[in-house]
């Protein structure tokens, strides 16, 4: 059984302009000792998804199930959830400066975390534990630094302190929401290495939310690609990077500048992510998709198996065999599009081709 099993999770928020459907039926599992990477553009719902699991996105209408170690996180009362949060599921946020309290010493903040979950721990014991944790995450001279304030730490050290805090109660699952986005590449490498090492030591499960495909390639075992609140594609990371099926995944991979094609023109995805209030009909990606067919405009595709193992799943009407970046896969796509595109879809395709790189429309 998986450590975390999320089934058909839906979250929407009502606003003056209508309901924002942030998450629209996402299912996934995370196993002990494994890393799930969740990728997607801003507004794809990746952060709302994980914050809902922890009860950190108040005001949303939530449905679905999220079984974690025998409990459904979505039905827990706030005080029960507080027991889970920090102790069993820890979170590392993007911006370590705003997630640490500026007026309290770093050590005090770690101690508070430990003592609020276990009152029997004395202050002295908690401080000892904080020193040990800071040492474990690679803060030099932890015995002195435990008495520092957050502003005395550099960005990388603050993120290490956040990781120390996350580890304090040996959680079973760590959710890291863009943990390295605010950091330099060299420091990012340090932090990713640290996370991998800690995971090996303690067999923790990790959910890594990021928009950086490089980070996913490095650290994840499985990858969930999100678009407009739904899973576009889900697979082992090798399948995602070498045999992408969904045109959105393919588009993301192609829009990254890389050394083998240096100097060539980049291939961006046309247009911009849709408004979550006014979603396009059918497949939400169709107004930006180079392979748009008639049925894409009206029917929403389900996430179905496209690989031999059943692990590789994609929500796209293209034939199952159209996975990959090679010529033969492209040929299958081209033939499917020829057969599947008439009237309405042809107009959409024309619009995409006519304005290949401009973002003409204004967001609603």
């Amino acid at each position: 059984m998986s450590l975390l099993e999320v089934t058909d999770l839906r979250v929407s928020f009502s606003t003056a302009d209508g309901a924002v459907k942030a998450v629209r039926g996402v299912s996934f599992t995370v196993d002990t000792g494994k890393t799930l990477g969740i990728v997607g553009e801003s507004g794809s719902g990746k952060t709302v998804l994980t914050q809902t699991l922890l009860g950190l996105a108040p005001g949303g209408q939530v449905s679905g199930r999220a079984m974690f170690a025998g409990k459904d996180l979505l039905t827990l009362r706030p005080e029960q959830l507080r027991q889970v949060r920090g102790a069993e599921i820890a979170v590392i946020f993007q911006d370590p400066l705003t997630s640490l309290h500026p007026l309290y010493k770093v050590g005090w903040q770690i101690c508070e975390m430990i003592r609020s979950h276990d009152k029997s721990v004395s202050k002295k014991q908690a401080t000892e534990r904080a020193v040990e944790l800071l040492g474990r995450v690679g803060i030099p001279q932890p015995r002195q630094r435990v008495n520092d304030y957050p502003h005395q730490f550099s960005g990388g050290m603050r993120q290490r302190a956040m990781i120390a805090m996350a580890l304090a109660l040996t959680p079973k699952l760590i959710i890291a929401d863009e943990p390295t986005t605010a950091l330099d590449a060299t420091v990012q490498a340090q932090i990713l290495d640290l996370l991998i090492r800690l995971q090996e030591e303690s067999d923790t499960a990790l959910i890594m939310i990021t928009h950086d495909l490089g980070v996913v390639a490095d650290i994840a075992d499985d990858v969930l690609v999100m678009y407009a609140g739904r899973a576009a594609e889900m697979a082992d990371k090798h399948d995602i990077f070498y045999r992408p099926h969904h045109p959105y995944t393919k588009g993301l991979l192609e829009s990254i500048p890389n050394s083998s094609a240096a100097g060539e023109r980049l291939k961006p995805i046309t247009g911009q992510p849709p408004s979550l209030i006014n979603l396009p009909s059918g497949c939400a990606f169709h107004p930006r998709c180079a392979y748009v067919m008639d049925r894409c405009l009206t029917e929403q595709p389900d996430l179905i198996a496209v690989g031999a193992t059943g692990q590789h799943r994609s929500a796209c009407w293209l034939p199952v065999a159209a996975a990959g970046i090679e010529q033969d896969a492209e040929e299958i796509r081209r033939r499917a599009v020829e057969q599947g595109r008439h009237g309405a879809a042809a107009k959409v395709a024309e619009a995409i081709a006519a304005a290949p790189e401009s973002e003409g429309s204004v967001i609603a």
Partner: protein, 362 residues
């Protein structure tokens, strides 16, 4: 449409002194740190940029990379004349423009424009897009009334915005579109040099590619030169003709992009390149990462000798004593310079430790 823009496209291209548009010689910028008390004396100096020389050719893109706090943005602001220079010179088309008065600098402001990182912070939220883009025309009194509106709408079209959205506010645009507004504003006076300070860092990857393509098109059409600052090494490789790697206010390595990326000589360049995440699982698994220990030291009190030596995997005694000159190393082309006593040789493996034990400062 370009003929109706205030300046003619024909001004770009070779002419004047050789083909160098901007030359920076031994530029130094120190910021004073003042003590408290009644008479605030200068107690220390932040050595943000400490002796940097470079040149940018016409129609060329120079990439500038380095970690936070290495002085790349300060250098850019010195070149644009936004902050006074402590010492050294900036030459634009053969004219010394260092520390000119506001009035004398005015004509050069038209030639050098900037695009900033944050498309949210760099646009006034209470002004309409049309008036934001039209500002340069107003400031330099080059167009007014309907001529200005026409020019602005042409600019909007050129950068891929709908000209009908002239009267909208920045909040009505997405991040990528806002960055296009920033590009249109920079382009308005047909500058010769645009300094791009992390222009795509705040954008999603698919939108980032759109903006990079736009910048490439504009360069081709108008013969623009770019000074392109970014921390994403793949982006810099994609856009640049030559690359400068900065560390703590100094140039660590510089040269045409291929030699710098393919056979980097400075251990810091090697570390930066190895740290950049590649979107390729197999490459990520097989790569030997050089994990640098600790953080960038304070520029108030930089290390003696080579400024990189406390973090350098190859550091020896000499490195702490003597500052290495920026020079061509044996076997490199004459344009590829490195400031290192013990440059990395071809085939040399720098990775000190595997990932399992890495990331432990000191």
């Amino acid at each position: 449409m370009s003929e109706t823009l205030p300046r003619d496209a024909a001004t770009a291209g070779p002419g004047g002194t050789d083909d160098v548009l901007v030359r920076v010689d031994d530029l130094v910028k120190y910021f004073p740190v003042r003590g408290g008390g009644l008479i605030s004396r200068t107690v220390a100096q932040v050595q943000a940029v400490d002796g940097v020389s470079l040149s940018i050719g016409r129609g060329q893109t120079v990439g500038l990379v380095g970690e936070t706090g290495c002085g790349k943005s300060t250098l850019a602001r010195c070149i644009a004349g936004l902050i006074p220079v402590t010492s050294g010179t900036v030459t634009f088309e053969g004219q010394n423009i260092t520390n000119l008065s506001r009035r004398h600098m005015q004509p050069y402001r038209r030639e050098i424009q900037m695009i900033f990182q944050d498309p949210y912070g760099s646009l006034n939220p209470r002004r309409r897009v049309g008036s934001i883009i039209g500002d340069p025309f107003a400031v330099h009194k080059t167009a007014s009334g309907s001529a200005r509106k026409k020019a602005v709408q042409e600019l909007m079209e050129r950068v891929g915005l709908n000209p009908e959205h002239f009267n909208r506010y920045p909040a009505e645009f997405s991040g990528g579109q806002r960055q296009r507004i920033g590009v249109a504003r920079a382009l308005a006076l047909r500058p010769k040099l645009i300094i791009c300070d992390e222009p795509v860092s705040a954008l999603d990857v698919s939108i980032q590619a759109q903006v990079l393509n736009l910048l490439a098109d504009l360069q081709q059409d108008y013969g623009l030169s770019y000074l392109f600052i970014a921390h994403d090494l793949e982006v810099v490789r994609h856009v640049s003709d030559s690359v400068i790697v900065m560390y703590l206010g100094r140039i660590a390595e510089a040269g045409p992009k291929d030699p710098v990326y393919d056979s980097p000589r400075h251990p810091y360049t090697n570390a930066l390149l190895s740290a950049a995440p590649a979107a390729d699982p197999d490459a990520a698994a097989s790569r030997q990462r050089i994990i640098l220990t600790g953080d960038v030291p304070s520029p108030i009190n930089p290390p003696s000798g080579c400024r990189f030596h406390p973090r350098c995997p190859k550091a020896q005694e000499l490195c702490g004593q003597q500052d290495p000159p920026l020079e061509v190393k044996a076997g490199d082309p004459s344009t590829h310079v490195t400031a290192c006593h013990f440059p990395v040789q071809e085939g040399e493996v720098l990775a000190r430790s595997g990932r399992a034990s890495g990331g432990q400062p000191r």
